[in-house]
């Protein structure tokens, strides 16, 4: 077990953060398969943005992981646009994968992905539709909802947020009391 010390230059404080190991990666594709399975199968993640006042604001969102490219996305309707405003001011976000019912892998494993989010809105009407194949894997009925776009048009005006990871924390055996494995994504 490694002890990782973090020194805060501003405050001058130093604290110990316990980690199991630290590994450098180039993308999420290089994570162990057990961790990638979490990303691929999770029905929900706790996605957190930071408000201008520094408050963490968490939303349960459907994570869409493209295993071909190792890219992680979430989408948001303009109806719930506050998180988009926050990301545009501060792109630092995280996505926690820990929901027991929502993670359908065995053994249960917890992942926290920290990174910078970028909001893609070049085509807010249809741009998100490129993620439908990933969406369909997690919500097979999504096409029937999309066909009823006329019923709630604004819900389908959606921004795509891509999370470029900087760090991933992984808890073996899904026990947050244990030190995490840390992966730094460069």
């Amino acid at each position: 077990m490694l002890a990782h010390y973090h020194y805060n230059q501003r405050s001058g404080s130093c604290r110990q953060v316990l980690v199991l190991s630290t590994t450098d990666l180039h993308s999420l594709q290089e994570l162990p398969i057990e961790s990638r399975e979490v990303l691929e199968s999770a029905l929900v993640c706790e996605f957190t943005v930071v408000s201008p006042s520094g408050r963490p604001i968490t939303h349960p969102l459907l994570p869409l992981y493209d295993s071909q490219d190792g890219r992680l996305f979430v989408t948001s309707s303009v109806l719930f646009s506050k998180k988009l405003d926050h990301i545009k001011q501060n792109p630092k976000v995280s996505a926690l994968f820990s929901h027991r019912a929502g993670i359908r892998v065995s053994p249960y494993r917890i992942l926290l992905v920290q990174g910078n989010a970028k909001v893609a809105e070049e085509d807010i009407h249809h741009g998100w539709e490129r993620l439908l194949p990933l969406w369909r894997k997690k919500e097979p009925y999504i096409d029937s909802f999309v066909k009823m776009r006329y019923a709630l048009p604004l819900f389908w005006e959606r921004s795509v947020m891509e999370l470029s990871p900087t760090k991933v924390y992984s808890w073996p055996k899904g026990d947050a009391n244990q030190p995490p494995e840390v992966y730094r994504v460069k």
Binding site: K92, A101, G115, E157
Partner: protein
């Protein structure tokens, strides 16, 4: 102070995650176990051993629930978030939240939750200089509420069929009558949206349904109010032109019927008349879609009026009136707030179902008496086959008063009741032509 009920709700969740902003400025989240104390409005959070001290930090804690479905996906979404400063006191963290928020789709259905955020969505799109998109086909269907034109088509057919029984039928005149009536109906629908938007009635309604609350075209920003008003004006103008041709070729009564129709339709929500805001909208709709359309179609064919056409128009008009009546039930609260005194808004809640049952009883009584007295052909009693549907509408309303989305089946059934009853009445006439009752 955060409401006590949020703490009680938090105790029902099994998954919670604590989040704070780490020294690198990134949110750091970790699942935690949490006890709630609703009386003291405090959360006690077990410290994960992997976490260094975060006491004193501004944190959020989210309680999240979904129920995965066997076929994939999930349902039963609800979540709850607290924010506050985390205190590190001994074995556990303590959080006395300063703010809390919750959403449970069983309490606030997702559709309603989305409607509550419409102004935010529109504002965001405005900032992007975008308008919401809808295919042209659906934009037309939604703007004009096209599915509801059946309420015009069937009365015109009935009036024409009754005229045929009297020995008159001209296909071109039937076509022109139908087109004129449809254009006026489309004018009514769009005028209704425009004036309700001006009055704010549709804007404050966060529980519209496919049958009530207007087309939402203006509220969603799909079309500006001026465009909707222009469409209404164009529809009315086109319908009036055809009406004037029919007046010239068939007689002055067409003009009189048209003028009464315009007075009723335009004044439905437009000031200063605003029939719908004074408890007279239902009568206006009943007269418009009943006697005016049926008698109008009959007169264009025959250049006369008849008791048979008048009597035949009353059940049809009442059934259309009842579509409006049932559609008003979920909008009761919003209409009342906006000062739109519909008949349903003016009634006591326990009288709504009684009013419905009495009205539908009158519909069937007229058809039965008309058939027995041979004013209608005997085969007109085919229309009584829909009595079980009427009873089901009544039961569904009774079981869902106060639940807008629970009333959707009642509204859908009521439209079917009108369609089936009128079609069967028409079918009764057609049968009589074949079998000579």
């Amino acid at each position: 102070m955060v409401e006590k009920v949020l703490f009680e709700k938090a105790a029902t969740y099994t998954d919670a995650a604590l989040t704070f902003v780490d020294d690198d400025g990134y949110p750091y989240s970790v699942p935690v176990e949490c006890e709630t104390d609703p009386t003291k409005r405090v959360l006690k959070i077990t410290k994960p051993k992997s976490l260094a001290s975060v006491g004193g930090k501004e944190v959020g804690i989210i309680f999240n629930h979904i129920t995965p479905l066997p076929v994939g996906g999930y349902t039963d979404r609800r979540y709850l978030v607290f924010w506050g400063k985390l205190e590190d006191r001994g074995e556990k963290f303590t959080l006395e939240p300063t703010k809390g928020f919750t959403w449970d789709e069983k309490e606030v259905p997702f559709f309603q939750y989305s409607e509550m955020k419409v102004s935010r969505g529109k504002k965001y799109l405005d900032e992007l200089s975008e308008k919401p998109w809808l295919s042209t086909r659906w934009l037309v269907i939604r703007t004009f509420r096209l599915p509801f034109v059946i309420a015009t088509i069937l009365p015109v057919i009935l009036g024409t069929v009754i005229a045929y029984r009297s020995g008159f039928f001209n296909l071109l005149l039937f076509g022109l009558t139908l087109v004129a009536a449809l254009l006026i109906h489309l004018g009514v629908n769009t005028a209704n949206d425009y004036f309700d938007s001006r009055a704010g009635t549709d804007d404050i309604n966060t529980t519209p349904t496919p049958f009530s609350g207007g087309s939402r075209i203006i509220q969603y920003g799909l079309l500006p109010p001026s465009a909707v008003l222009s469409l209404s004006t164009a529809s009315y103008a086109s319908g009036i032109l055809i009406g004037l041709y029919l007046t010239i070729t068939r007689g002055l009564p067409v003009l009189l019927i048209g003028l009464v129709g315009l007075l009723i339709s335009y004044g439905y929500t437009a000031p200063p008349l605003k029939w719908a805001y004074r408890g007279l909208g239902e009568a206006a709709v009943g007269i418009g879609f009943g006697p005016l359309l049926v008698l109008g179609a009959y007169f264009v064919q025959t250049q006369s009026f008849s008791l048979e056409a008048l009597l035949g128009s009353i059940p049809v008009g009442m059934l259309v009136m009842l579509i409006l009546y049932v559609n008003e039930v979920p909008d009761r609260t919003w209409d009342d707030e906006a000062g739109k005194k519909t008949l349903v808004a003016l009634m006591r809640e326990d009288s709504v179902v009684t009013g419905f049952l009495i009205s539908v009883g009158v519909v069937y009584a007229i058809i039965l008496i008309g058939a027995i007295t041979k004013i209608f052909p005997l085969s007109a009693i085919l229309a009584l086959l829909t009595v079980p549907v009427a009873l089901k509408v009544g039961r569904t309303i009774k079981g869902n008063l106060g639940n807008p989305y629970g009333l959707i089946p009642a509204m859908s059934l009521m439209v079917k009741l009108f369609v089936y009853t009128t079609l069967l009445l028409i079918a009764g006439y057609l049968v009589s032509f074949l079998i000579h009752f």
